[in-house]
């Protein structure tokens, strides 16, 4: 967390400030996507950028996710530093060839001669009552692909620091923002800072159980830890911040210390990020564990629309609290 004097910014403001600072610092940085200019995106994350940087650098595109993502790859190879905006993470399906077969492989296939310094910003997260095609958390798909890096900030502070790092990285980075978090406020220093990739942060220290949580689930984990505290259980909350590169050491050390671990991630619980992290902990901390590592993720269903249906598909503070309490042998 910041030690510098800080103001309160929303998550959206932190993202915008990172972009504005990087665009001022480096003329090659440009943004393209749908409704990114005057509209500033449907979430208003980019409001004001076109006014400062002009339509040369903040480009409204047609509704052609594959096309403009592919152009991001080519532009990144040839001297620009594009930040491609994909409005909803669900639309990543349309960009898959460009990300998986092109962006991720150009450097390797060319024997290290071409580079793709591109960022693709998109969203994840349910509970916005947006139904099955506007609510998914598909970050596991991209974390699975060598050649891509995947960042998943959980606070305004992390969003700003990680996005600045992403823009300066020489590789394609997919940057996931929880759309339910855009209005969340948190301290962000006035001074410049960046956050390195592959460095987890302990968001709350504890002794009895480790809760590894990503993005949208970090606040849930912190809420559960608060409840656990009242029940006499001291929970440690660890946020990997990037799923690739992954800070395995910090995760394993925390689990060794507490001897129990739950992994909470809003992607699907099956074949997902929670499974991968659980496996890293099981391999690295096996002899220190007092219980099997537990995964918690979205229910294995397309996200439903109706609020009482949607609400049970995503891990909640209460669910994490109960799972953690049971693992600690309490009822």
């Amino acid at each position: 967390m910041p030690e510098l004097p800080a103001r309160e910014l929303t998550f959206a403001q932190a993202v915008r400030e990172a972009l504005a600072e990087e665009m001022r610092r480096d003329k090659r940085v440009c943004i393209f996507g749908e409704d990114v200019a005057e509209a500033g995106t449907p979430f208003k994350v980019l409001s004001g950028l076109v006014e400062e940087f002009g339509r040369e650098r903040v480009l409204d595109t047609p509704i052609s996710e594959a096309g403009f993502t592919g152009m991001g790859v080519g532009a990144a190879m040839t001297g620009l530093r594009p930040v491609v905006d994909i409005m909803f993470g669900d639309f990543l399906t349309l960009t898959m060839d460009q990300l998986v077969n092109q962006a991720a492989k150009v450097h390797y296939m060319s024997g290290g001669t071409w580079k793709v310094p591109m960022v693709l910003r998109t969203t994840l997260g349910a509970t916005r009552r947006s139904a099955a095609q506007h609510s998914q958390s598909l970050h596991a798909w991209l974390s699975h692909v060598p050649g891509l890096k995947v960042a998943m900030p959980s606070t305004p502070y992390d969003a700003k620091g990680l996005l600045k790092t992403a823009i300066r990285d020489e590789n394609p980075v997919v940057f996931f923002e929880d759309k339910m978090m855009y209005k969340l406020k948190g301290p962000v220093p006035e001074q410049e800072y960046t956050i390195p990739f592959g460095v987890a942060e302990v968001k709350r220290e504890g002794e009895d159980i480790t809760i590894v949580a990503t993005s949208s689930m970090v606040q849930v984990a912190l809420g559960a830890a608060e409840m656990l505290g009242k029940a006499g259980i001291s929970a440690e909350v660890v946020d990997p911040r990037t799923t690739w590169p992954l800070d395995e050491k910090t995760l394993v050390e925390s689990a060794k210390k507490t001897s129990r671990a739950i992994v909470v991630d809003e992607g699907y619980g099956r074949y997902g990020v929670s499974g991968e992290i659980a496996s890293v902990i099981a391999e690295g901390a096996f002899y220190s564990l007092d219980a099997p590592v537990k995964r918690m993720g979205a229910m294995h269903v397309p996200i439903p629309f109706s609020p009482p249906l949607e609400d049970v598909t995503v891990p909640t503070e209460q669910a994490v609290f109960q799972a953690a309490r049971a693992m600690c042998g309490k009822r």
Binding site: S64, G67, M71, A76, Q98, Y108, G147
Partner: protein, 332 residues
């Protein structure tokens, strides 16, 4: 400059040694590909390769109109594009054999030759896969005001990919210096294009307001003259173009595609080879115009053959990468 595609005239301002260079480049591609076929037959090459034999006039005619700093993107049938843009045969053979000295240090192989020094953004094994990259490169050139032009090569099979139309639309909207060069060799793998391609090809580009035209892809002078015009337009900021080149591949879809009669006749192959061979026809024209005589052309062919043999030997002798290199270059 006046341009004539009439067999009786020379493009004004083009000197004899330039025509000889064009001839040499085409012969080089053919000879390179013959060697690739040999390597396959002798089981010296891992995997397969898609030969460019028969289509040489397209790559050479287009790339002759480009500067070294201009960009190209290429395809699974890409050896011709890479050589025409200036790649050296020894490092290409080395890549095809998976050797450390190859353009991609053995990590790419036949379908992924890339070379920043000659503006080659890379060959792509996803049909239509480089349309976005090429258009993005053109966006960079425009934004950074470098005056570079990008050529995106693809086969007519890529006309089935939606992403091509997404980026053509964008290139037209933003007036990007990119030329989409469609090599219509009649077959999407083993299926005639008439079974896969509705309507008029050129109309597809024209619908976006992209300048569209067709050219005889077996006539290197016509391709070159057209390319010069389109490249100049693009460089002046007049926007993208779509060029369809009628051409033919002499070999199978890849080196292992030997029995082809279920999709095309021997007679059809024979007709293209005898009547429309780009190298023979160009040689005939050069001799008729007294740009060169048969002896000079034979000399070129002989020299190229010697050069290709040496390049193949270099590649065969070159060491493989060490297994430890498998996880290098994943990230920059």
């Amino acid at each position: 400059m006046t341009i004539a595609t009439d067999q009786s005239k020379v493009i004004e301002g083009v000197k004899a040694d330039h025509w000889t260079r064009i001839y040499r480049r085409m012969v080089m591609i053919r000879e390179f590909e013959d060697q690739v076929n040999e390597l396959y037959m002798r089981a010296l090459m891992p995997g397969l390769a898609h030969l460019y034999v028969g289509e040489e006039a397209v790559a050479v005619g287009i790339c002759e109109a480009l500067r070294q700093t201009d960009y190209i993107t290429s395809t699974h049938r890409g050896h011709g594009h890479c050589l025409a843009k200036g790649a050296s045969p020894d490092r290409m053979f080395a890549e095809l054999l998976g050797k450390e000295a190859g353009y991609c240090r053995g990590k790419g192989g036949s379908m992924h030759i890339a070379d920043p020094a000659t503006g080659n953004l890379g060959a792509n094994a996803i049909v239509g896969g480089s349309a976005g990259i090429a258009t993005g490169a053109a966006l960079s050139s425009k934004r950074l005001d470098t005056g570079q032009v990008t050529v995106c090569f693809f086969g007519e099979g890529a006309l089935g990919q939606g992403v091509l139309y997404e980026v053509m639309n964008l290139a037209a909207l933003w007036k990007l210096p990119v030329i989409y060069v469609c090599e219509n060799n009649l077959y999407n793998e083993y299926t005639h294009y008439s079974e896969t391609t509705a309507g008029d090809m050129l109309a597809r580009g024209a619908a976006f307001g992209v300048h569209a035209e067709g050219v005889d892809g077996q006539d290197v002078r016509a391709v070159y003259a057209t390319a010069q015009r389109l490249v100049e337009r693009a460089r002046k900021g007049e926007g993208p173009a779509f060029l369809v080149c009628d051409t033919y591949r002499y070999h199978g879809h890849h080196v292992g595609d030997i029995n082809r009669e279920y999709y095309r006749s021997k007679q059809e192959e024979q007709e293209w080879k005898t009547k429309r061979d780009p190298i023979k026809n160009f040689a005939g024209w050069m001799i008729q115009q007294r740009v060169a005589d048969e002896m000079a052309l034979e000399e070129i062919r002989k020299n190229v053959r010697v050069e290709m043999k040496a390049a193949v030997e270099f590649a065969i002798a070159a060491p493989y990468p060490k297994p430890e290199e498998a996880d290098e270059n994943v990230y920059a």
